[in-house]
């Protein structure tokens, strides 16, 4: 697929993103405190942190299998409407705060029930298999969806590197936890959440842990993603490397992964621990099994006025329904 980026103005006129963000932060700060006029601009600028990573194109990305023909959502929407609770619970928090995440150096440790446990650097991970563009639907458990042109390769290519043992039945994914830069995780809201004790209490248990059954993890649809729209992932989208499991609700696709562990028993996953009746281990997209508090029959595709019908397995039934043959999906939600 050809990806076009509109360039209506010369590059020299584009404000660098970090400067733009600094200005915005400064404006917010100065309006908030009313000292905007009293403080000279350079001083305020110096007080700010250097901001986030730039947009970097990935070379040699080829179209991959399983891409759908639907129109991807806008880059601006995919990168500003995120659930990344470590940075706060509002959809816009991650885009505003995740730039502080330290993503270099980065490595993933793969351990547990495997013949050859390994720690792989990001560079090594990027080279394990050819990078492909895969345009997938993303359905959030909250009832909205988008279409994202991810870049990555099948997770199975990475997992095969360590030669899983026969006793390995599940794969656990652990996201990075950097409390010093993750203000949403342990902050005011998280603390109050715990105090309120509603819905399982205590916010989420960090680090964020997700899990898949081994056959799900090895399924060719399951993507290890390093980019979107032909560029390296932005931090709010789970840079530098994340999971994408398109037939499951979005929270199953763990972001910013640092550890992969092969285990025998079903892992205790973050949302399941927080509220087991609302968020099951499988969490396959299923219009017939509602969330206890809202319907899952329909979804709002971002950019559309009316809701559309949610598809079984988010439209990937042909590929994945066989994984769940004979299982009662109401019970294993």
């Amino acid at each position: 697929m050809l990806i076009k980026h509109p360039h209506d103005c010369p590059a020299s006129e584009i404000t660098p993103q970090n400067l733009f963000r600094q200005r915005r932060e400064f404006l917010k700060y100065s309006i908030g405190t009313g000292i905007g006029l009293a403080l000279p601009w350079p001083a305020a600028q110096a007080a700010n942190e250097p901001a986030e990573d730039p947009r970097i194109k990935i070379a040699g990305v080829k179209p991959g299998p399983f891409s759908i023909a639907e129109k991807p959502n806008k880059y601006e929407h995919i990168t500003t409407y995120n659930n990344f609770y470590e940075f706060g619970t509002s959809k816009t928090d991650p885009a505003e705060r995740a730039f502080r995440l330290k993503t270099s150096p980065w490595s993933i440790t793969i351990e547990g029930l495997v013949k050859k446990p390994k720690t792989l650097s990001l560079d090594a991970i990027m080279k394990i298999a050819p990078l492909e563009e895969r345009i997938y639907r993303l359905r959030c458990v909250e009832g909205w969806s988008m279409v994202v042109p991810w870049v990555g390769y099948s997770l199975s290519a990475l997992l095969k590197q360590v030669e899983p043992l026969g006793s390995a039945k599940y794969v656990e994914f652990e996201s990075t936890y950097q409390p010093d830069v993750m203000e949403g995780g342990a902050g005011f809201a998280g603390g109050l959440g715990g105090f309120g004790g509603f819905g399982g209490g205590g916010g989420l248990d960090w680090p964020y842990v997700e899990g898949l059954r081994l056959d799900e993890a090895m399924h060719p649809l399951t993507l290890l993603s390093v980019g979107l729209y032909g560029e390296l992932l932005q931090k709010q989208n789970g840079a530098p490397v994340r999971l994408v499991v398109p037939w499951k609700y979005g929270f199953k696709s763990a972001k910013s992964i640092v550890k992969i562990r092969f285990v025998e028993k079903e892992p205790a996953t973050a949302w399941n621990k927080a509220n087991a009746t609302e968020y099951g281990f499988y969490s396959n997209v299923n219009p017939e099994v509602d969330h206890p508090r809202w319907s899952q029959a329909t979804e709002r595709r971002l950019g559309e006025l009316l809701k559309r019908k949610t598809l079984m397995f988010n439209g990937y039934g042909d590929q994945v329904a066989s994984l769940y043959k004979g299982m009662d999906l109401r019970k294993f939600y």
Partner: protein, 206 residues
Amino acid sequence: MKLSSKQVTLLKVFVFLACLVPLGDLGWGLYQDTLGANPIETVIRALGRWALKFLLITLAITPLRKITGFGWLMRLRRMLGLYAFFYALLHWCIYLGLDQSFDWIEIAKDVIKRPFITIGMLTFTILLPLAITSTNGMVQRMGFERWQGLHRAVYAAAMLAVLHFWWLVKLDVTWPLIYTAILSVLLGMRLYYRRSERLQTHAAGM
């Protein structure tokens, strides 16, 4: 502080316009496309929150008047209450239209199945007769006692509205907690006043 009737009229005009600011803000945001990736969600939530805020503001009038002694505050109460209803009405319409595409069967199922929607609907159903009977004529027709009895339902509506908010939230209960705290103070003050009034009547009787 006493206000002349002219000042009260001016104040009412000002409050009337000020209460439209949130709506104008949302409309402008929609027009300028600054409401983010999911503008409909932004709008429906903002309208719901404003309905709740206006309910709380309306409930704050009586305690505020008791504390400050400003009688003219009472002249604003009906308008504020009607604005709570107005924002709730818009919130409700967007749910029916854009969330459910006016599919009445689905809506009925949703109301029955989902406590969060049940509570929202119930809240609106309570507010509706209060809005209808908010005119002076209605007060006269119903008689003040009965009218007041009916309008006490606003306490139930406010509690249900807060509950509706609790059930929407996935994990971060900061805001529901804040609204609960405010409502508790407002209702608690009423209990306190009622008790002290009763004590006074007792004392006067003795």
